[in-house]
Symmetry: C2
């Protein structure tokens, strides 16, 4: 039951307490949970670049904002940048033969571990896929050829929980038949 409560209380937090830094030991536990994530053929096709220097975090937050999106991100004290690294040969072969790109699924799995672990530490988080990839890569020295796929903002929440809006069970779940 407890895990279900954790999954229910986790939300995409878009307002953080700017005055409160995030403890490194909490970040270490969150990243350990990410490290334990499963991945296709155990390829672990990821690197996590954790940004918690205030000035750098501000610049990265700024680089996620455009077209009215992600205005809040400049106030996030922490960003976990997820870089796609080469998968192993069996995973790449499987991606090719079965026509689905496993590293994206793998990085989704690791992101879920991160956001749930953050919630367990009393922290808010938000997964961002919309940002100026080139600028952020240059800010932290990610090689040009690599893909920066996601940025997860982390911080102490500044607002109360919202009610979740989700499709009904009936719409997304069926038994023994589509």
């Amino acid at each position: 039951m407890e895990f279900l409560q954790l999954a229910a209380s986790r939300q995409s937090d878009r307002a953080y307490d700017k005055t409160r830094a995030v403890e490194r030991e909490k970040l270490e536990r969150i990243l350990e949970a990410a490290r334990f994530s499963p991945s296709a053929c155990n390829a672990q096709p990821w690197k996590f670049v954790v940004v918690d220097e205030p000035e750098l975090a501000f610049k990265i937050g700024k680089a996620t904002a455009s077209l009215g999106m992600n205005k809040f991100a400049k106030d996030a004290p922490v960003h976990i940048l997820i870089v796609e690294e080469s998968a192993n040969i069996t995973s790449m072969l499987g991606s090719h033969i079965k026509d689905k790109y496993f590293p994206l699924i793998d990085i989704g799995i690791a992101s879920a571990h991160i956001t749930l672990a953050a919630e367990a530490e009393g922290l808010g988080s938000c997964i961002l896929g919309w940002f100026d990839e080139k600028t952020i890569k240059s800010l932290v020295g990610i090689p040009e050829k690599k893909r920066l796929l996601l940025d997860i903002t982390i911080g102490y929440p500044a607002k109360a929980k919202r009610t979740k809006s989700r499709k009904s069970k009936e719409k997304i779940i069926s038994y023994n038949r589509y």
Copy 2:
């Protein structure tokens, strides 16, 4: 700390107790955790087809086995099939502009919720991306045009936990610089 223990104890289980069925109320809680998953622009681009009829589960397990892979899956009492459904326009636009296909990431996130929720219920699970998609789609009536992306096997584990093999922290984590 508790969530970290959950993430540490979850493993890809490839041996199930064939004599023990999985309770529907446990499956309901696992699926509720999946329903709460975040997704790009809250698109929720998924349907979950839960197979727990023994004969059908056996046939699906058989359809995941080839080239020596997934021999164990015929013994899994439950399969959760994850079908990709249309994302909303904002998510599809974001995928296009930023050149990353968000529904794959989203379905990765939901898979993590499912496997962690299964672990919390004392159940083993394994995410499979390798299977005969056409055969399984026809077995449960998934329309030909839709993609069946993943099959998650669920059941009571028949073997003890293994030690996890993962890249070291130093290899995958850095602070403020790639």
